[in-house]
């Protein structure tokens, strides 16, 4: 049944990504050049609503949360490498798949590059585990664990901060 849920969530997600233009490398580069923040505001709105709704639902029903572990060096270095690739290619691991569905050949090339990138990681995993993944490892922690407050309180604060930033920041840069 979960396989069907996954498929359905993917269909809706693919349509949302396509509609907002996140599968367009031009839109991604416009965001990273800080010329058009549409995609960043879309993501911030998504995170705010996702945090509020999932932790509200959590008050009344069991949720399948899965917190990713915090290992500072690997996560930060991985993020920097990801950011560089994001700016060079203009795709994420998911947006290139949506791009392929739209007829973007460069999306397929990015996916191919991704398969080789994941293969390279698989081959060097045992070498980089000790220096990058083992040190400064704090396990599956949330900001609620850090500040010792209920998750719903932290979710409200974070959502409020994100939505305020979304309201205040201009979507497009008016002056060159």
């Amino acid at each position: 049944m979960n396989l069907v849920y996954g498929l359905l969530v993917g269909v809706v997600m693919g349509a949302l990504i396509q509609r907002v233009g996140a599968s367009s490398p031009k839109m991604i580069l416009a965001a990273l050049r800080l010329e058009d923040l549409t995609i960043i505001k879309f993501m911030a709105t998504t995170i705010a609503v996702g945090a509020l709704v999932s932790y509200l639902m959590n008050l009344g029903m069991p949720m399948h949360f899965d917190i990713k572990p915090t290992y500072v060096i690997g996560v930060a270095v991985g993020g920097l490498i990801f950011g560089a690739g994001f700016a060079i290619g203009g795709y994420c691991p998911g947006t290139c798949v949506v791009g392929i569905a739209e007829g973007r050949k460069d999306g397929f090339v990015a996916l191919l590059g991704g398969v080789f990138g994941a293969l390279a990681f698989t081959l060097v995993y045992t070498l980089i585990e000790a220096p990058l993944i083992k040190p400064l490892s704090y396990g599956k922690i949330t900001w609620a664990d850090v500040v010792h407050l209920p998750t719903i309180v932290v979710a409200v604060v974070m959502a409020g901060a994100l939505l305020t930033a979304v309201r205040l920041l201009p979507t497009r840069r008016t002056s060159a």
Binding site: G14, G113, F116, A118
Partner: protein, 180 residues
């Protein structure tokens, strides 16, 4: 008449501009993200790549696949995350056909140095390589870390998001400065 909106509950100028499309889509994506956590687990994409590699290597060279700790850790291919990636293809295809809009280019040249389609494909390949290497090192990508992870208030995902935008904005500026 005020405009009913979940994204802008206290719009200062209710009669002014309608709610932008990205805000509506962002609210829908947030609901989808929470719904996914309620149904089976957080949305994620990049783990599918090593699971695909694992399934391929198990078919070609089962001894190596069984001995590689990362492939063992990532497990079998048939997971909700994999069907989600198949769904992305279907949803992206349906959406691009059902809604009006400009046709997506085969090669979207985004940098000045991409003077030919071939150069664009080189950048797309390098970019694809780096995003997957980085995502697997960090344990997630835009969907798993930034969208799902930050929605779950994960400390790791906040570090990842900050690093992605620092690296992404910095690299975009470097490429513009280096234009050949």
């Amino acid at each position: 008449m005020t405009h009913p909106s979940a994204a802008l509950p206290h719009a200062e100028r209710p009669s002014a501009a309608p709610v932008p499309q990205w805000a509506v889509l962002g609210v829908l994506f947030g609901l989808l993200s929470a719904g996914s956590i309620a149904l089976f687990g957080p949305i994620g994409v990049s783990g599918t790549y090593p699971r695909f590699i694992g399934a391929s290597l198990r078919a070609v060279t089962p001894e190596y696949a069984a001995a590689n700790p990362y492939l063992v850790k990532m497990g079998a291919l048939l997971t909700p995350e994999t069907t989600l990636v198949v769904g992305l293809l279907i949803g992206g295809f349906l959406s691009s056909r059902l809604f009006a809009g400009p046709k997506a280019p085969a090669a979207d040249r985004v940098h000045a140095r991409e003077t030919t389609d071939s150069r664009r494909y080189v950048d797309a390949f390098i970019g694809g390589f780096l995003i997957l290497f980085g995502a697997r090192l960090a344990g997630g990508c835009t969907s798993g870390h930034i969208i799902s992870g930050m929605s779950q208030l994960a400390v790791s995902s906040t570090i990842f998001a900050a690093a992605v935008f620092a690296g992404g904005i910095g690299t975009a500026k470097l490429i513009a400065a280096w234009r050949a």
